[in-house]
Amino acid sequence: MQGSSGIGYGLKYQGRCISDVRADTDHTSFITGTLSLREENEVHLIRLSSSGTELICEGLFSHPNEIWDLASCPFDQRIFSTVFSTGESYGAAIWQIPELYGQLNSPQLERVASLDAHVGKINCVLWCPSGRHDKLISIDDENIFLWTLDCSKKAAQSKQSSGLLHYLSGGAWDPHDINAVATTCESSVQFWDLRTMKKTNTIERAHIRNANYDMKKNHILVTAEDESGIHIWDLRKPKSPVRELPGHTHWTWAVTCNPEYDGLILSAGTDSTVNLWMAPTSAEDEATSESIAESATQQADPLLNSYSDYEDSVYGLAWSNREPWIFASLSYDGRVVVESVKPFLSRK
């Protein structure tokens, strides 16, 4: 089976989130955190060995609370953000990995800043995707906050969105437009202009769990929906999706577009599988005969592979930016699996 090709790494406790360390240009590394209500939680910095056959724990840091969301800073590999919960209340913070952690036994993370403006449940923290920008967004149930991070002062200033937004559940920052953010909520996907903090557009759709922008192509958004399906949208035509993929047997929890290869999409589901899809949306843009023929064959079965070697629901999913054919997945039982999709790319 394909599952055997993956490289495994075990966390001590359960976990939900994993992130690619994008700023690390020398190694393919991921950062992940545990989710344990009653134990002492940890943040793991994992590096894929240069041979690509082993996962090495590069750093192990204790984290005060269970981690619900974790994102690595795109321009500084030592900085990352977490959303955590004490069980009763939520918090979000920016952390810096101490410089001398190799010498310390159980090094403490330095808290760069706390994003302390939230009241309700915080859902996620987003880093500006376009590289060296010290902007952050945090989303809670009702509000969007735009932060400007000043690392030297170890402080963050916030700008709050106006209006009552009900039951936001997550979001995605448009990599093509620094002022555009999409948020998911109970009955729609909403699009925001960060300059005015106003809503610009919506897609009415029930229970979207996760959304992700196509890194390569403008206007393309991929969503994971409650009806155990994946939809690909062209934002210029928000009435109906461009494509529909069957998704997972149970919920489709997360979707993520490959940063390099067009139309390559990963989805993780609560049916303990990760599916690799090839769903190009290029039919209208590049009307070459080749792409048409290709899309025709892809139409037959967009599912390239289904990685099913998981014991529990998979919540964490991240492509590597450095080696875009590699992705890391994290199942609830705390198992990190790094896989390469190369065999499926060459087949194309």
Binding site: K12, Y13, L37, A206, D226, E227, T270, D271
Partner: protein, 780 residues
């Protein structure tokens, strides 16, 4: 010389001699002739003694060289004999010649003596001839005067007769008119015409006037005759010819007559309209039994006959008018077919359709007889092709409509009391509609095929094609329709259904299941049967049916429906789970689980969940077959041990707190047989039910994982799950995976709990019992 030898060997020396003589003679009279007797073959050219080029020295040389002494001697002897022979021949010839000279001299002498007496006789004869001539001249002069006189008298008489004729003409014409001998009248009149032209203005003015008057009446009468239908065609044709002879403007007449024909065509169409009306009336089922032709076609036939006759007459009368007639006839055919097309739009039975076609075809044949140049048969074949094709297509459309009607009926009448069996009824009705409908359809088409109507016979291959293609398209369309009905292609209705949860939507969910099962039915029963039927009756005479691309590909269609059935079943399960999912979402988002109060009773959502399940069950029971595999499967796997083990695990995990907890979970999972939660769904009651339950429980687990509980919250979940476990056993066959999932829910809750202390078993039992009793009471 060979001949010579031959004379010796053969016994026909006389013949040989005669031949020789002849040869010699001929050589004598035309010595240059090359066709002298051929030289003997054994001495080649040189031996050709008789030829002019014969070289005796050379011959001798060759002979001497080639022959031995003996041969030469023999040759010598032979030659000597030959020479002797030749000498005698020559002698004989000379003799004969001489003889002939003598007889010729005799003949000349005799002639000379005979001619001498003839001169006197000749002179006598001349005298006699001279006297005869003088006498005849005398007679001639004496008779000349009398003859002159007689000739003059004769001329005068002729003139007088003509004048008499002219004077009598008016009277004669009127007589002719009376006796209707128009032909004579016209003849007379035309005969008199030159005279009238010459002298009409002077001596015969009155006569001319009178006879012209008469002729006017003749013309009138002729016209009347031409237009009167009662007259025989022959008479009418004659009248036309006569009119033409009278220099009457026939073209205007032709135009008029054509108008009349057109008018009669209009009448005919009016009549046909009536026929179509009758046809439509006879369409209602009570009268359908009657054979179609007997009702309306008699009258129609007569009028068409009349029309055909008129055309025939017209053609005879005006032989150069074909193109107009052709146009007219084609017009008629077109009108006919248009009428049928109208009818086809209104859905008619094949018998009626056939009848109408037959009427047209007989008309066409009639017309064709009269007007073969119009090639009406071909023309109507084309038109008929279009019509029949349309008919086939429309029949399929109606079938499709029938089926969706049968399905939609349920949707329209969601009455509570009918609910119990509504889906089953819908399923049965649509099954019947499809099977019966398509069989009827085939029967109808079969009728079309079997009919020996010329039109249809020619179209047979096309019909076979159309029927096959029709079925192909029909099933594709049906597949599309199904998807549409199920709302998969119509996202707006889906959303609506989700958010509202109206009763109408509930029936719609059932419909999806009906559609799924219907697809299975199609795939397994209807399509094989239809393809069988088609193979039996629709490919035999259409030999090319198998090769062409329109052929009914049952395999492909079955594949379509197989996947459609799967899709629809999944869709049904999806829709059902979705409803539970919204239920669960509400349950888990509203309360503050961290500050949950102690559990007093099982939460309401379990009831709602069970209610949903029962709804599913009632739908599933109506539609899907019972799966036999399930029980077998269950006894196969060691389910009981499995669940007990995970229970033990659960207890362990709850009591033991510490770092080893997760490790143990991993270990336990390693040893535990991995339970396949999501197996392939089969189209059976049990499979669908358990799949839905499994999906819902998995959702429950996921919702639990997203929350954090205090002790009471955890206990509440524990209680709810415990009750659910009990009640599920009552409702459905509980397989291992479900037990496993129920355990997992509790595990998840314990993991997400600050203080996972479970309820004491007695309390748990008591609360469950209370709830059970209450729910039983309610159900009563």
């Amino acid at each position: 010389m060979v001949e010579r030898e031959k004379t010796r060997t053969d016994d026909v020396p006389l013949d040989d001699k005669a031949k020789r003589m002849r040869d010699l003679l001929s050589s004598f009279y035309n010595p240059d002739h090359s066709s002298a007797p051929k030289p003997p073959s054994d001495y080649e050219n040189l031996d050709a003694i008789n030829s002019t080029s014969f070289d005796p020295d050379h011959y001798m040389n060759v002979l001497v060289q080639k022959s031995n002494l003996e041969g030469l001697l023999r040759r010598h002897v032979e030659m000597a004999a030959e020479i002797k022979n030749l000498d005698t021949d020559l002698q004989m010839l000379v003799y004969e010649n001489y003889n002939k000279f003598i007889s010729a001299t005799d003949a000349i002498k005799w002639m000379k003596s005979n001619i001498v007496g003839m001169q006197a006789d000749m002179e006598q004869l001349l005298d006699k001839i001279m006297s005869v001539q003088s006498r005849s001249d005398g007679v001639n002069t004496s008779l000349f005067e009398k003859r002159e006189h007689i000739e003059k008298l004769h001329r005068t008489r002729n003139l007088l007769r003509k004048v008499q004729f002219i004077y009598d003409l008016p009277a004669r014409l009127s007589k002719c008119i009376k006796s209707e001998a128009y032909a004579d009248a016209v003849k007379f009149y035309i005969g008199a015409m030159p005279i009238f032209k010459a002298y009409g203005d002077s001596s015969f003015q009155d006569c001319k006037g009178a006879s012209e008057e008469a002729i006017v009446t003749v013309v009138k009468n002729l016209q009347a005759k031409l237009f009167s239908d009662s007259e025989s065609i022959q008479a009418r044709a004659e009248a036309a010819v006569l009119l033409k002879q009278l220099d009457f403007p026939v073209h205007s007449l032709q135009a008029k007559l054509l108008e009349k024909l057109e008018q009669s065509l209009g009448d005919l169409q009016l009549k046909t309209v009536r026929i179509e009306n009758i046809l439509r009336e006879s369409n209602d089922p009570s009268k359908q039994g009657k054979p179609f032709e007997s009702i309306p076609s008699t009258g129609h036939e007569v009028s068409v006959h009349g029309f055909a006759e008129a055309i025939r007459a017209y053609r005879v009368i005006f032989p150069d008018s074909e193109s107009q007639l052709i146009k007219l006839a084609q017009n008629l055919v077109i009108k006919h077919f248009e009428m049928i097309k109208q009818c086809v739009k209104r859905r008619i039975s094949s018998a009626n359709f056939l009848g109408a076609l037959r009427t047209i075809w007989t008309d066409v044949l009639l017309m064709d007889e009269v007007l073969s140049e119009a090639s009406l048969a071909d023309f109507s074949l084309e038109a008929g092709q279009v019509t029949v094709k349309k008919y086939v297509a429309s029949t399929f459309t109606y079938l499709l409509q029938d089926i969706s009607d049968a399905l939609l009926k349920v949707k329209v009448s969601p009455k509570e009391e009918a609910e119990e069996h509504a889906l089953k009824l819908a399923l049965e009705a649509s099954k019947k509609a499809v099977l019966q409908g398509s069989m009827d359809l085939l029967l109808d088409f079969r009728q079309l095929l079997d009919d020996d109507l010329g039109l249809l016979v020619k179209l047979r291959e096309f019909i076979v094609d159309w029927v096959q293609k029709g079925f192909q398209d029909f099933f594709r369309a049906l597949d599309d329709r199904f998807l549409l009905l199920s709302g998969r292609k119509n996202p707006s209705s889906q959303d609506q259904g989700l958010s509202e949860g109206a009763p109408g939507e509930k029936v719609l969910v059932g419909i999806v299941l009906v559609l799924a099962q219907l697809s299975v039915f199609f795939e397994q029963t209807t399509i094989p049967r239809i393809s069988e039927e088609i193979a039996a009756s629709f490919s035999g005479d259409g030999a090319r049916g198998y090769e062409n691309e329109h052929a009914f590909a049952s395999g492909e269609i079955r594949q379509i429906f197989r996947s459609a059935a799967e899709k629809l079943l999944h869709h049904y399960i999806n829709m059902r789970t979705q409803r539970v999912s919204t239920l669960l979402r509400k349950r888990f988002t509203t309360p503050n689980w961290v500050k949950h109060k102690e559990p007093r009773e099982v939460h309401m959502f379990v009831d709602l969940f069970v209610q949903e399940l029962r709804a599913v069950q009632s739908e599933v029971k109506q539609i899907l077959p019972v799966g036999l595999m399930r029980k077998h499967h269950r006894s196969d796997s060691n389910g009981s041990t499995n669940s007990s083990r995970s229970n033990a695990l659960l207890d362990d995990r709850m009591t033991q707190k510490g770092r080893s907890q997760l490790l143990e979970t991993h270990l336990a999972k390693l040893f535990k047989q991995k339970v396949e939660i999501f197996t392939k769904v089969e189209s059976t009651q049990e499979s669908v039910e358990t799949t839905i339950v499994k999906l819902c429980l998995k959702s429950l687990q996921e919702f639990v994982r997203l929350k954090t509980f205090n002790r009471s919250g955890f206990q509440q979940i524990q209680l709810d799950v415990q009750f659910l476990r009990t009640i599920l056993r009552e409702i459905i066959e509980v397989e291992d995976a479900i037990d496993f999932l129920l355990d997992e829910v509790i595990v998840a809750a314990s993991e997400r709990c600050f203080d996972p202390v479970p309820l004491e078993p007695p309390i748990l039992d008591k609360l469950v019992q209370v709830k059970l009793a209450r729910s039983k009471e309610q159900s009563k």
